[in-house]
Symmetry: D2
């Protein structure tokens, strides 16, 4: 968590082209647990090890993509302070009342210069992770149903004006820059990786002319062997794999990129280092960006920069 | 890092009975990098992936054990504020001038009710991790020299009055309780695991009549396969293994406990979950403490509660 | 397989004290697939990846232990030749008609000097491993039900006269010696590890005054991470673990020993090298037998030499 | 080993375009141990865990590719018998005297219909694997120098008339078919995977108009984590990776294909099942050949069928 009281990525709302197909993917292939459906027709999921009621919400729409990405904050006072700080900085915010999302408290929503809707909230019902809070086992059978990630970990968003986005995340919300990729000019950032914790990234952005686009949402696995298992399950289910298993140079994580049936890219990854705000950020130059993104191939595939939802 | 600005465990000072034997252990078996020796005769080490100048300091003495354990804080202002907060709480502090330890800034030292010396500091020279800050590889050859942990991760200390210790760590320094073990009365804590970050523990305490004792210092590895490799290297070097490879119920980490040549216990571990301060702490009852400590054997070995240095 | 046509360990018959408890263990905890029950009340199992109808057979009895251990041979001609060779060597054999065991052809049974019943057979119905013989996936859901070993791999038997046993296995059946442990006299073997293939052991013997005893039957897992998972599942099911996870010096395998509810020891292991008959056998001396058996602890636990069924 | 006495792949002779570059690759990147150079200018290597004097021999030439691939057999009598059997079948053989290759006995060489030179031999000096034959450790420091495979495992050769090749390997040398891929006609084999042991393949062939071509030589690693490490080391050394880390559908192995500096493809792989001659072969149909070769991508890359040396 950041010293400002921003704790972690809390939920993401995704649009899918066919709801039943989407439910099948997120429940049976990715292996999330369905925790509810609301009267708007949204379906709620969490991973087996998350304690809060939901982290992934899908709805049917004509176009795939992301509706909003949210961070949980420490408490109501933090929520109010960050809302005020955003306004003071010049970011307009909107209050969405508690209960608009199932088992979720009041949310503060705002648009960032890259065109994405970001939310903060302080409350979501603790429904447990299926293990007791007294003398728990280390995992449950749900840890082996589908790909079964540990948690929603981060997302990578594509849009313009990422230096303005960075300024808000760093100077208002308390994130810090962990790694960045510079363009051929050696100065302008192509991409930035930001953390509000000791994770190497809680959110990342790549410069892109079209606002509000999703590159991928990412789910954490707990070993490289689980990355292999995820790739096997993808193939068994004819999931379209973008790339992987491989390693990122950036963050050192091991990874697979693949697509849900609507074309939303998702990542299942493991590893990478843990970072701290006193660390000097790592820079990737344009000639080595291939190794930065896909360390083994040392080259971007063309989909990485062009295919978003 | 905690919202108070406490970042992470930064250094530990250990006493060894024979300096050359100790250097051989920490350098060649554990695989740390020696970074300096001072005029007091102390020898400084860091892990291959740590960027700050030192994390483990050893000196020769008649009795093994721990001299002090320190946390790095965000900056000088944080250091001063925490110093003032400690005093306001009633904890006496001492200022140790910059340079008393190699490449390390001013330290604030204080004794906690368990009888241990704890330090805070804001500055330690960044000497890098052997990889460039521009286009780095994910690891270096030093990652395979000896056991080669990633970082000094935490310690477990034994002493009295651990509820008073908890109060200082939580209410002054901003830590939170992650797990605890209660005694047969169902109320009194035998042990507490505390975090100032999203790590499942940055420091832990077990109730013990004698003050100031060390149970173990702990080093992070990045996979269960590296835990096996560590056990192999221990056996090749005739290191005395206490227990493991096994899993902890508490924190879910996979682990080996072993002893340095002077009898200081150390742990090389991997995994475990990442925690957040909004999480309800996990409780272990007395009848299940065996599974909590050593999940596979479901029983404590007698050394766990009695052998400390 | 051996040049004589002995292919591999094919089935083992085990006695359990309570049949329902035994079925629960072998089916739900070990994760074998039940493939049939016969009119004698025996229950048949196979692993998820074995193709032949059965490999583990249990029956209820007043005393735990092993009834017989069998090797599959290449074909009927091989069976007849080995039967004749055994007789020529002086080993009495008995023919058990096809069908006495479910889906299993005629068996040649003989007692070896250690007091164990060994069988050879050429036919057992191929019931498949749940994956097609055309375009198969690499694994099925049964690969994650319980501990889910890949195959029955070998057994370790305790009894007298193991040099006579070795002579039969080597000179009649075509096995070769891979490793051995010598007693304090530096000459007499305490234990021998024998292979009829490129596996480091297909059967092993330890010298013991009482004939016909079982030390353990062993099941193969495909990674060290699966060894950890096996230990976790054992603890979740309160299976009594003898030792592990750890590594053997002998064969280099990584391992857990545990007990079924009747006290029959079983092993779930991974790894170890592959050997060839032109290799010089590895010898372990009495002073290093601890490291040979349990490489990390470098000491036998007292159960290893005394507890058998 | 086969029932005929063919033990295992023993050595491969490879042509490289620049000897020093080749030595650097095989010694420092792949991590083999150089064991000698002969007066013809050939350089000999073995893996850290092989006991025989050499397994990979390179020489400088104008064109990359393979000179010959050899199998060790049980003894001189086996060598003579197989030589006679080959001649009886109609395969011409040539005797190469002992000592023509360093520390290697007499070889029987013959050309197979695919245009490759195959050799059999019975003797190669045991130089040990760096660990004692008495009370050995499980591995040495050489196991972590470069990619450090365990052994030369198999090769995949491209050429015509692979059904004639199969007939010789099966009916004269005692191999058996483990898997095969059929062309669109559903009958003609595109590729065949053959074993003389319990390995899923000791040699494989793909139908190709040009005779005598090498697709890859393959080296065994002992875990999926070592496959990741191999890919990292390749990237650190700017080795050109063809594909991987990924999984094969055929044999289930996990794998990387890459190229030595001369363009000879090599594989570093792990896992896959162990097979037996009584097993029904697995068939891959033309429409699923992509999943058979690269299970995760479910598609061949164009290099797989066209780039050989």
């Amino acid at each position: 968590m950041a010293m400002t009281g921003v704790l972690r990525p809390g939920h993401v709302a995704i649009r899918v082209l066919d709801l039943e197909e989407g439910i099948n993917h997120y429940k049976n292939v990715l292996g999330l647990i369905e925790t509810g459906r609301d009267k708007q027709g949204r379906v709620y999921f969490k991973t087996w090890d998350e304690r809060d009621h939901n982290s992934v919400i899908i709805r049917e729409a004509d176009q795939a993509g992301i509706d909003f990405f949210a961070f949980k904050v420490a408490d109501k006072a933090t929520l109010d302070k960050l809302d005020a700080d955003l306004n003071a900085y010049g970011v307009k915010t909107e209050r969405i009342p508690a209960g608009e999302m199932l088992e979720t408290g009041e949310r503060v929503r705002f648009e960032i210069p890259s065109g994405h809707q970001i939310e903060l909230y302080a409350d979501k019902t603790d429904v447990g992770n299926g293990m007791a809070y007294v003398n728990p086992d280390p995992w449950t059978q749900d840890a082996e149903r589908g790909i079964a990630p540990i948690r929603l970990d981060h997302c990578l968003l594509y849009g313009p004006d990422i230096e303005k986005v960075q300024d808000i995340f760093v100077n208002v919300l308390g994130f810090y820059l962990v790694e960045h990729v510079v363009l051929e000019d050696g100065e302008t950032d192509l991409g930035i990786w930001l953390s509000c914790s000791t994770k190497a990234h809680d959110i990342a952005f790549v410069r892109h002319p079209e606002p509000g686009k999703l590159h991928h949402i990412s789910f954490l696995l707990d070993s490289w062997e689980k990355v292999l298992r995820a790739a096997d399950i993808m193939s068994m289910n004819k999931v379209s794999i973008d790339i992987g298993p491989t390693r990122h140079g950036i963050t050192r994580g091991t990874t697979i990129y693949a697509f849900d049936p609507s074309g939303n890219r998702f990542e299942t990854f493991c590893g990478g280092y843990q970072s701290y705000p006193d660390w000097k950020p790592i820079k990737w130059t344009w000639d080595e960006v291939g190794a930065g993104i896909f360390y083994h191939d040392r080259a971007l595939n063309e989909r990485f920069l062009s295919v978003v939802s």
